[in-house]
């Protein structure tokens, strides 16, 4: 475990060296924005709409007491999406989608000697391959999460409208009430930390593949499992540090 941590830190040291060529790094970054970010918009939208709708319906369904106003549905949907569902659940989804992609892509490059080819050419492979992925994830995931929050809240509002459980006016009143701007900051901090975990851990596991296609598959699965566990673990730590 300690050896793995040491290897991970050594890889990070290589990753965060100055890129060999600025324009090449910027081009790679754009490629990763599309591959890791833009390509994830669809799944983020679908999951967020349904999550927002489910939260809204469940909240409305569970409000039995006439003392609790129905505006709470909008309030709860907003809080749930900002505090937990968008930053954490979407990051877990991205750990599956993006993490496995990173690990398998880099792992395949390792077993087909493409990483060796880079190294022999005098390129720092860790920096060339992983830094753009980490940077793109840390810059684009907050955009995805804000998008997820907006779409999730819209999903909740739409569900209330369709089911008639809560009026649009009540939902929006709750949505606008008792807003604490720091909650968005908290969500963004979590998102950036989770993005770093997903890209760096998956990159590390892919980079250290030794063997053939079976090992690439194993690394891909391991990347999802390890990233997910670390996300949950750091979720707890960050919540304790930032909210309590």
């Amino acid at each position: 475990m300690l050896k793995l941590l040491g290897e991970y830190l050594l890889l990070l040291y290589d990753i965060f060296k100055r890129p060999d060529k600025g324009p090449v790094f910027r081009r790679q970054l754009l490629v990763e924005f599309v591959g890791l970010g833009v390509d994830s918009i669809g799944i983020v939208a679908i999951i967020s709409v349904f999550t927002g709708a489910i939260v809204a319906i469940q909240t409305a369904y569970n409000i039995d007491s006439p003392l609790i106003p129905l505006t709470m549905v909008g309030f709860t949907t907003r809080q749930m999406m900002i505090l937990e569902f968008s930053p954490t659940i979407i990051s877990l989804i991205l750990a599956g989608k993006v993490g496995s992609r990173i690990a398998s892509e880099i792992g395949t490059m390792r077993v087909t000697e493409q990483i060796d080819a880079l190294r022999v050419m005098g390129v720092n492979p860790a920096n060339y391959l992983i830094l753009p992925k980490i940077t793109a994830s840390m810059l684009f995931n907050p955009v995805l999460i804000i998008f997820s929050i907006v779409v999730g809240i819209w999903g909740g509002w739409f569900a209330c409208l369709v089911t008639g459980l809560v009026t649009s006016a009540d939902f929006i009143a709750g949505l606008r009430g008792w807003f604490e701007p720091f909650t968005v900051g908290y969500a963004m901090i979590k998102t950036v930390v989770f993005a770093f975990i997903i890209a760096s851990v998956s990159g590390f596991l892919g980079y250290n593949v030794d063997g053939g296609s079976v090992e690439v598959g194993k690394a891909s699965t391991k990347a999802v499992v390890v990233s997910s566990i670390l996300i949950i673990f750091f979720d707890l730590i960050l919540t304790q540090l930032l909210l309590v």
């Binding site: 060529k21 395949t108 490059m109 087909t112 493409q114 080819a117 190294r119 022999v120 050419m121 005098g122």
Partner: protein, 248 residues
């Protein structure tokens, strides 16, 4: 010229290379031959810096590679072109982008100059109208030729080829051999080829190093290899029915 001096390498208790010393000469095709497991791939990996030897020294034109700091090693690496066994072309890049890759990384050429150089290198390896194809869309022989084009695109001083003919039919293999040989003479490159293909040995073996169980067993050229009395080398050279018949 590459000077290999007393290279040793072990994995656990198994010694793969035992005090190997040789010289890879400039402007010549230097072959490393030997049976599977004789240590030829490890020797080549030591030369290109992918494996750290336990002892010994490797000098590139009087520059001691192993003793250099990583940054200085990088400068020598930029002078190397390597043809890997499987080509090691970047899957996500087109043929043109693959050949252009070293130029993008290490030169300040304009896009037009880079494209001219890419087209020149592709023509040099007898490939045309493949610029926009991806590695998955071309044949094994074409992949090797693209890999050669990439290896020579940045005017290397040293060219390393690991099993350049593996997986190729004899005709295509001959074309690849001829190409490597021509490029070596044309650009006065120090070329090191790792092979166990006897056709290559007899066609382009200007200097041949025979490794046997991790030791440099014999050194010679394509003219002397068939007449040696070295028993282990003869076992290797005349291991097939075809070569035995030729000998008779």
């Amino acid at each position: 010229m590459i000077h290999v001096q007393g290279i040793n390498k072990s994995f656990g208790t198994h010694q793969v290379l035992k005090n190997v010393s040789t010289i890879f000469e400039k402007g010549k095709t230097n072959l490393i031959i030997g049976q599977s497991g004789s240590g030829k791939t490890i020797l080549m990996k030591c030369c290109i810096g992918l494996v750290e030897p336990d002892g010994g020294d490797i000098s590139f034109d009087e520059r001691p590679f192993l003793a250099l700091a990583e940054k200085r090693k990088k400068d020598i690496r930029k002078e190397m072109g390597v043809l890997f066994q499987g080509g090691a072309l970047f899957d996500s890049l087109t043929v043109e982008q693959n050949v252009m890759f070293p130029l993008n990384m290490f030169t300040d050429m304009t896009p037009e100059e880079k494209l001219d150089r890419v087209n020149f290198c592709l023509r040099r390896v007898n490939l045309e109208n493949v610029n926009q194809l991806f590695p998955s869309e071309i044949s094994g022989g074409m992949m090797k030729r693209v890999a050669i084009a990439r290896a020579i695109s940045n005017n290397p001083s040293y060219l390393f080829c690991d099993e350049p003919n593996s997986g190729l039919d004899p005709k295509t293999a001959e074309v690849i051999d001829q190409l490597i040989s021509e490029i070596t003479e044309e650009y006065d490159i120090t070329t090191v080829i790792n092979t166990h293909d006897m056709n290559s040995v007899l066609q382009i073996g200007q200097k041949i190093n025979f490794l046997y169980k991790g030791e440099l067993w014999w050194t010679g050229d394509k003219n002397t290899i068939l007449n040696t009395q070295n028993e282990e080398l003869n076992d290797f050279v005349f291991s097939t029915e075809l070569t035995r018949r030729i000998r008779k």
